[in-house]
Structures are given as C-alpha cells and as structure tokens.
C-alpha cells in the first residue's frame, strides 16, 4: 500500500510538466540584445583602432624586426656555435653514451 502511494507520487511528479506553457523572456528582449551587440562591436572596434594607430603599428613592427634580428645574430655568433658543440659532447662523455651495446663494455 505504502509502495503504491510512493509510486503514485513519483508518477504525479513526472507528469507535472506535461501541460507546461512556454515561457517568454521579459519585454523588449530585442532592444537589450541590440545594445549588447552594439557594445561588443564597439569593444572590438576600439581594440582594432588601437592596434591600427600608426604609432602603435610601427612600434609593433619595429619590435618584431628587432626581436628577429636579435635571434638571428645570437644563433649565428661564433661563441654560441662553440658552446653548442660543447653542449653536444659533454653529456655524451660524462654518461658514457658512446657505448651503444653490452658488447662495447666487454671490449
């Protein structure tokens, strides 16, 4: 009996959404949406106009060129080439990485 009552309650709860009316947003939804779209467009427009200012754009391009030149000259410098050579050989010597198989140790 108790189980039947419980099942009835569950079924009633499950059926409680059967005749639900569709809800609408508050009035003037489109006006608020338009304001939001306008705000978003303004935000992007501000950001784009900032980066397209001649001074900012020129500075950014100069910075990119300087960074590129720095990397190129740093990589090509002879000192760097020597240090790279050392970096290649040192760990190999230190950890006996020249031995490639067990047979090499027996020699």
């Amino acid at each position: 009996m108790k189980d039947k009552q419980l099942n009835d309650k569950i079924e009633r709860a499950l059926a409680s959404l059967d005749k639900t009316e569709r809800c609408s947003p508050r009035p003037f939804f489109f006006t608020r949406l338009e304001a939001r779209l306008q705000y978003q467009q303004d935000k992007w427009a501000k950001l784009t106009s900032f980066f397209t200012r001649p001074a900012i754009a020129f500075s950014c391009i100069c910075m990119v060129i300087v960074l590129n030149l720095f990397v190129v000259f740093h990589e090509l410098s002879p000192q760097n080439a020597i240090s790279q050579e050392n970096a290649e050989y040192t760990p190999a010597d230190e950890y006996s990485l020249v031995a490639t198989s067990l047979y090499d140790f027996d020699k």
Partner: protein, 191 residues
C-alpha cells in the same frame, strides 16, 4: 516571408530580418534555457549570448539542418558553457568571499518555480526540477527538449546529432534516474 529568405537577408546584416528571426525563436531559446539553468536571470543572459552567436555565425549557416535545430544546438552549447563557468565560480567562491568580491549570486536558490507550470502542479514540478538538475547533461537536455519544448524523438536526435533509438534510450535512462531520485526524496520525507 519564409525562414530561408529571412536568413539570407539577415546574413546581409538586415536589421528587420534579424529582428524577425530573433522574435520567432526567442521563446524556444529562453524556455529551453530556463528548464536547463533553472534561473530566470541566467536564462535571459545566456539567451542573449545565443543570439549574439547566431548573429556572428549566421554566415556559416548553410541550411543543411533546420534553422531551429541549429539554434537549439547553439542554445545547448551555451547552456553547457554557462554551467561549467558557474561550477568553476562555485569552486572558487570561498576565495572571493575572503577578498570581499561577492557581488553576484553564485549559488542558485534551492527551489526553482517554473512560471509556465499549472498552479496545481507547482509543488510537484519544483521537486521534479530538483531531480532534473541531478541528471547527466545530455539526459537533461533530451528530457527538457521533450517535456518543455515538446520536441519529437526525431527532432531531439537532430539537435543532439544521435539516432532516434539513442534518444529513446537516453530518455528512458533519464526517467529511471528521475524515478530513483524522486523515490529517495519521498522516502526521506515519510521517514
């Protein structure tokens, strides 16, 4: 004017065409979001996000599916994003309270009253919404689309990109889980 013509005009940034599209689909978006998010303010906010996305992505809409199906997909994706964001905020809520920056409500009120539910069903519906909130995201979406939006299995399948049989099994599992949660709820009340 039919949907296809309106969409073509809206793609060319025609304000009145976009307004008509919004006005014909705002109720379905809001109603779905209200069922999933169970908070009127959040539902309105996310509904606006949905239409911003519609406005921005309209040029990519090729008409392979129905416009309403496409809008439902965006709605579900935005709802999922919102829930994820809200859960993240809840996790860090204690930090916000430490720094006294607790302006917005992070935790929803426990009992949600859907305004479209008939008066005699209000109490049962509130209990049911509490149980719906504990469903898995895809079960919840399928259940809401079926119960609140009255979509057929075929339409739900198109929105969720699954077969009719998969929708059937999803809804069956959702109902089983709801029954289990409701049984626990009512048993707790009687004991």
């Amino acid at each position: 004017m039919n949907d296809a013509a309106l969409i073509e005009l809206a793609k060319q940034k025609d304000r009145s065409a976009f307004k008509t599209l919004v006005e014909t689909s705002q109720d379905m978006v809001y109603n779905t979001l209200l069922g999933i998010l169970q908070n009127a303010e959040d539902a309105e906010d996310v509904a606006q996000e949905v239409f911003v996305q519609v406005y921005e992505s309209l040029k990519t809409f090729k008409g392979e599916s129905k416009f309403s199906t496409w809008v439902y997909r965006i709605t579900l994706s935005k709802a999922t994003d919102h829930i994820r964001k809200k859960n993240r905020k809840k996790r860090f809520a204690f930090l916000q309270s430490l720094y006294g920056k607790n302006e917005e409500q992070v935790i929803d009120p426990p009992n949600f009253h859907h305004p479209g539910v008939e008066m005699e069903n209000k109490e049962n519906a509130t209990i049911l919404f509490g149980a719906i909130d504990k469903l898995l995201p895809n079960q919840k979406a399928a259940f809401i689309l079926n119960k609140l939006e009255g979509l057929s299995y075929k339409e739900i399948g198109e929105v969720l990109d699954i077969s009719d049989a998969a929708v059937d099994s999803l809804l069956q599992r959702a109902r089983e889980k709801l029954k289990k949660i409701l049984r626990e709820h009512y048993s707790r009340l009687t004991n």
